[in-house]
Symmetry: C2
Subunit: 226 residues, 2 copies
């Protein structure tokens, strides 16, 4: 197994990350920006969901996004077609975003000028779990094509997320997706977790997701004012 030495150094890195994430969270809170991160395996549809989310929220709110990827800026280029302010974080061979990368990408941004900031993590259902990015809400996505047991097989990421989205529901029939089994998997790992079934392609379920985001923002702002 992984040597104790690596675990020890990793723990130090995580501790540093937690401190940086705490500072980010304070900064976001003071700015009144609602920060939402998206995690999933590659190809679960994070970017398309984000594209639709930015376009819809952008009609009423000031929105921005940070997009993490090992290589390429394809996603940032896609998202730049919306009105949102978008920055790419290219991680090289690093398999997750950390608070320092987020901090660096926001260098020079006035987060006071934003209502929502989205952070799209690297496609990875394992490693991003343990890195706090200072977000208010962490959403874990998995698509109907990935199988109903993903929450059971990747429990840590579901445990560290606040809400789950089952994506690509337009393909549910084609892959004989068992929605009840998927919900059971999620609830057995994280009882009470709020779950959204969405298709960014057809728009099904998107309204409920947008309402959730907007009420989270209002709740955050009232809490900050108290």
């Amino acid at each position: 197994m992984t040597t104790p030495r690596l675990v020890e150094v990793r723990e130090k890195v995580l501790k540093q990350n937690d401190l940086r994430a705490r500072a980010l969270r304070q900064r976001f809170g003071a700015s009144g920006v609602c920060v939402v991160s998206l995690v999933s395996s590659p190809g679960s549809g994070k970017t398309l969901l984000l594209e639709k989310t930015l376009a819809a929220l952008g009609r009423e709110w000031r929105v921005g996004a940070l997009v993490g990827d090992l290589a390429t800026d394809n996603d940032a280029a896609r998202l730049a077609r919306t009105e949102a302010r978008v920055a790419q974080i290219t991680t090289g061979t690093v398999c997750h975003l950390d608070a320092e990368m987020v901090q660096g990408a926001l260098d020079g941004w006035n987060t006071m000028g934003l209502d929502f900031l989205f952070i799209e993590n690297v496609g990875n259902l394992v490693c991003p779990a343990t890195f706090d990015l200072g977000e208010d809400l962490r959403a874990v996505l998995f698509s109907v094509t990935e199988g109903e047991d993903k929450p059971l097989k990747y429990p840590t990421i579901f445990n560290t997320a606040d809400v789950a989205l089952i994506t690509k529901t337009d393909l549910a029939a084609a892959v004989e997706f068992d929605a009840a089994a998927a919900h059971r998997s999620i609830q057995s790992v994280r009882p009470g977790m709020e779950v959204f079934e969405v298709s960014a392609k057809t728009g099904a379920g998107i309204e409920r997701w947008l309402s959730c985001l907007q009420s989270r923002r209002s709740a955050g702002i009232s809490a900050a004012r108290q």
Copy 2:
């Protein structure tokens, strides 16, 4: 970014892993067993492909499989329905298999008694890339539902793999999969890479994959005899 200290310790861990993988490769070579590892993101269809591969090869060859997962032994239970000898490696929160885990799982196995050994890695398109498992052939899978640009976004895993499989081709029409674009992505990251298009569900393309495995085994044995 990740601190230099973590990188340094990680390099030591990788060096140890390389030594263990070399020992495994010698052991496998001496046993005459052909070792094939499968890597992909979660839900790309590794287990179903493996199930069909074990069932088909098992009619003529002695086959075994090691199955890596963070939690659950669902996959091992599925594969145990074939005639193959199967062992589960539960990694906890570790996001990849390493050579030591493989060595541990094979403790007490007589690899002389096998013609093929398959190793299914944890679903992760990033971290398994850098861990040599002593395999003869590393196959990277990605499904038509994940998007044609995955090789561009996760180049390291494609660079360390020997062959690529595009899976779930039965869903290609439903997701408007652009096969030419996917092949271009693969070839731009790893020119000349052999690619298989398969559907484990319908059986399409499986024969060619099985032939590849059998000729790899023959080639390995002739090389060992020389």
